[in-house]
């Protein structure tokens, strides 16, 4: 199942997609999830290729509010944010990778917009693949407290698979 929602402010147009990720996961994940649904969260910014485009904080607030209200309405949900490497970080942050930049951004948004951190939780998985592929990956799991046990099982599966 896929949900699309667009957000338009004076300066930006974003399209957010929640994509049911559960069915595309390998067997080893499905066995631990039970009735939990995982959504891959993807965001398309129409102005992303314009280098001078500033981040529209109002649009981000609106997107975060929507995601939080989705979790409140669907407590058996885990949001899966894979920090991808498309594009480059802004000029002032060129010393870090795009993945790390996105990870820091997600965490800042969580800190800023989630007021009750016992109800909506965040867990970050940092995968050090420098030895083999010279890269570092970040996956953020955001979930309501009700899904905490399953989110930790999912985290364990990802960690085990990555460190095999």
């Amino acid at each position: 199942m896929k949900f699309h929602k667009s957000f338009e402010t004076k300066d930006s147009r974003f399209v957010l997609r929640l994509d049911d990720f559960t069915s595309t996961l390998p067997e080893e994940y499905l066995s631990v999830l039970g009735d939990i649904t995982i959504y891959d969260v993807a965001l398309y910014n129409e102005g992303i290729h314009e280098t001078n485009k500033k981040v529209d904080i109002l649009a981000f607030k609106e997107i975060c509010d929507y995601l939080l209200s989705f979790l409140k309405d669907n407590p058996k949900t885990i949001f899966y944010f894979y920090c991808d490497d498309r594009n480059r970080p802004p000029k002032l942050r060129r010393e870090i990778s795009m993945q790390k930049f996105r990870s820091e951004l997600f965490h800042c948004l969580y800190e800023r917009y989630v007021s009750d951190k016992k109800s909506i939780m965040e867990h970050i998985i940092r995968i050090d693949d420098k030895e083999i592929s010279k890269r570092e990956l970040y996956i953020h799991l955001i979930y309501p407290a009700l899904a905490e046990e399953k989110a930790m099982e999912l985290k364990n599966v990802i960690s085990e698979q990555a460190s095999k």
Binding site: H4, D19, D40, E46, I125, I127, D129, L137, S163
Partner: protein
């Protein structure tokens, strides 16, 4: 509240392949989203 983080180290080709698969899944989702947006914008522009 303290940042909740798990750090994992990849030490073998098996782990690398698993990460490649996760990256591919994300790339496909992003491509698919881009195609959706282009179609949506195209339709809007036709009106």
């Amino acid at each position: 509240m303290e940042k909740q983080i798990t750090i994992v180290k990849v030490t073998s080709e098996k782990g690398k392949k698993f990460l490649d698969r996760l990256r591919e899944m994300k790339q496909e989702n992003l491509k698919d989203l881009e195609a959706y947006v282009n179609q949506y914008l195209w339709k809007t522009n036709q009106k």
